[in-house]
Point group: C3
Chain length 369, copies 3
């Protein structure tokens, strides 16, 4: 019998009781507030913020680059094998624009890079890790350096390689959104082989061409070739993938952005690095040619996200919308209870009081828990 009672209780249906108020002002305010809330959720939350989608921000990317062009530098004609570092075509690469060459360095001792007079050994050592002062007949000595000699030349003003502006960079970028298992490439299948071979990237005219003129890149980054080839620079090529996977995949295309990294601060303006080519003399002694390479470094940075409809965020936002709809009641109740003449009747209907006499038990029962 108790079980039967429980079953009946379980299948008893309970539904909230309402007060119905047929009052134009309150009714209209109620609906206006509700329409505003719905408009906000539909327009901003769902359409603008796409809150019905899950986002995949963990884009996987692989970048391959290939540079083409011939340049004239220091009376030589140089090609990719000479001016691209590293040669493998990774996402970070440098194109040499200017070189300071210090030829035929042997290990030994030689004067410090500039004739530095010193009275004490300490002074020399402070400036060069390995230094010994020459001191003949009491006159102040000159610092001597131990290491590769002669020391690096002072930069001689050579003509930098302006031809770089006509070099072209081919960028191949393959991406994958792991959450949705969607793969794309920046070499679109809608372009023919012929088109791709001939094209040059232009933001409006050919925004999907994967071949970029260096001069154009610098221009889009707000730089001039002249500015950068003297001291080098650090340029970013950003490939942005923003994909809405609820629509056709053909709209999932890259966008390119260009910017410069190294001029935000006066420190270390420009870009250069040193490397050496090593040779052996006939007697087996190793010697080297030191190169201080001024280069434009390009970083290809791939970024993006993909969104796709998913029940979980959709439900949460629909629930939020429905709950917010209920908020209009708060406003309307204030109006009804405070500003309308019939407030007393409304109050009486809405709130049924259980008189204190009926439930005047104080705290004791609670502690029976």
């Amino acid at each position: 019998m108790v079980l039967w009672g429980c079953i009946i209780d379980f299948f008893t249906y309970e539904s909230t009781r309402f007060v119905v108020v047929k009052n134009w002002s309150v009714g209209i305010i109620n609906r206006i507030v509700q329409v505003a809330i719905i408009a906000y959720f539909v327009g901003y939350v769902f359409i603008h913020e796409k809150a019905y989608q899950t986002k995949d921000t963990g884009i996987e990317s692989s970048v391959m680059t290939k540079i083409k062009g011939f340049g004239r530098h220091n009376g030589q004609i140089v090609d990719v094998a000479d001016y691209v570092f590293p040669p493998e075509g990774t996402d970070v690469f440098c194109i040499m624009t200017s070189l300071h060459v210090t030829e035929n360095q042997f290990q030994g001792r030689c004067p410090a890079p500039w004739p530095y007079t010193c009275k004490m050994d300490d002074e020399c050592k402070k400036f060069y890790g390995f230094v010994s002062p020459k001191e003949d007949n009491g006159s102040p000595g000159f610092c001597e350096v131990e290491g590769w000699c002669p020391t690096e030349n002072e930069p001689i003003q050579t003509e930098p390689m302006g031809d770089i502006r006509n070099f072209t960079i081919f960028i191949k970028n393959s991406i994958n959104f792991p959450l949705f298992d969607v793969s794309r490439g920046n070499v679109l299948s809608t372009m023919t082989l012929e088109e791709i071979r001939k094209c040059t990237y232009h933001p409006e005219k050919s925004p999907f061409c994967p071949i970029f003129r260096v001069g154009d890149i610098l221009r889009y980054a707000g730089q001039t070739v002249e500015e950068l080839i003297q001291k080098g620079g650090h340029i970013g090529i950003k490939i942005e993938w923003k994909c809405n996977l609820d629509i056709d995949l053909d709209y999932c295309v890259p966008q390119y952005f260009f910017g410069r990294f190294d001029n935000k601060n006066a420190v270390s303006n420009g870009y250069n690095f040193r490397f050496a080519k090593y040779y052996k003399s006939d007697n087996g002694t190793e010697y080297r040619t030191l190169y201080k390479v001024f280069a434009i470094r390009f970083d290809v940075i791939v970024t993006g996200n993909a969104g796709k409809f998913n029940m979980v965020p959709t439900l949460i936002n629909v629930v939020a919308a429905l709950t917010c709809l209920g908020l209009s009641t708060v406003l309307c109740d204030i109006i009804l209870l405070k500003f309308l003449k019939g407030a007393e009747q409304y109050k009486a209907k809405k709130f049924e009081e259980v008189s204190p006499a009926q439930t005047d038990e104080s705290f004791t029962p609670i502690f029976q828990f």
Copy 2:
């Protein structure tokens, strides 16, 4: 006294009034709908989508690679120092499979790569940045190139290095999920040193072995060695970490996937790059040997996410579930109000009307705000 009234008001408890309907059909429908909603939330939202977790998608990763093996190419036995580019063992590396060598190039002038007859200088210049036509006794000249001479050889068919299939790649990957401060490595501590030294990766038999045979990798990627060694290729090795940090950390293990990047489009099929070795002749003139390297490039791509219980998403989803439970009322009310004979009585109980006479104030009070 006013304060006292406020305090009493503040501690007044209000509770919604319900209509109770003891009707089997409505009660059962109500419970069925509620069970369906609970099942959906528990099964899909909580268990399948793990909506009770926060996800860390900002995986931090470091990859170290090491290649082993000897190969025969062009009559020489080559080792890692010869065929791996770059040598440092980073996440992107290339294994040379075939070489086109152009030896002993000096700066100078020489005929264009193929005997290009031209009548005008412009024609020559169009094809080579730095060209001057030879014009002897009026006959059409041949283009001459300025630069490294002789120019690059036409590719001679050499036997590519098939031994690459037996090379092994050791990959060490350390990851960290910064949000939860959890670090893992793909060289699992459950494997002994002995096991790791002897093993070779196999998806089923030894899925956690960090040593990969190149031939296997290509096979898992759906490629054949023969296809790739002629023209090179671009292979992706994906290491995926999907970790549920609510269970034992030992289940947080990597999964490996293999794929090819460069055959999605006919453009730039294969993979190659050029580099040069520089020498000095006895009289100090620099000359070089140009290498066009056909290689298989491997990109190790690390991806993944970790999830862990967190109160905020849990609460939000529980709230969403509870609110959705309330939706069953909507359905049941429709049934009660429209389809049951007792609808009128139910309606009268559920909706108490405050007659228009009682609250017939129109818009004016509102503007008193």
Copy 3:
């Protein structure tokens, strides 16, 4: 007329009816529960977890590094061009600490790295891809290797380059949060050029100095120079950006962390790689010097996220908070209905029963749907 009815219905306002209970115990419990819920949401969800923000975890980053210092190794003074691999200053770079040199290798045949006696060809071949045993007058032969000869030297204990501790690494890191379009650099604009040139990173004294002493880095990573320079090692430099974009951008600064990757497992402790320098003898034969480089490899890993106020998560969490507030009713109703003496009166007021007689229609009407 029907339309008019619909309009009236549409603008009819409905508001929930409440039972009002003026009982101290219930009222106080109700408010305590509500205060606890509000405190939880305000304190934990909103202030601690910053649930009112959207997070951008897709940080874009570019890293440039530059090493300075002179070291003494094997009787030579070496500089950056000698000891940094690769020279370009990318986010992954190695500083050589010790070298095993095998000079003047020519292609040919020579004894295996250790005098390996073998009776069968197979045995030799198992260990070296290309091996042929020397067999003179029946005695067990020695394995011979085909390839670069002589084979690699057994490691001779050379003095590693301890000077590395005084080398400095300048790290320039530019980041961007694409969602909010906020760019920052680790070379803060609040530091003067003079300050940056002179400073050295210290976690407390100068936490924003972008110049790091190698010795310090190893110390912060819990390592000693002595440990690492023998066998090399793999060090991570983590730059963490945690930015709250609701406050001033000047607080969006990097934090540096240091750790070691290669000692988590006994396998492949240390770090080394091989490369070769190639020379040409007078008769044009190529020969090489093989270097086994023991190096400390540094990986600069950039990580971080930015948060900014956004209406969508804020609304969702406010809605969750409001819905949770309603949960206090559940507790209070249990108290009222079970533990207070006036429970019956309360029950009668709260639940108005529509008697079975009034709605005794069974399942049939439902199927009219």
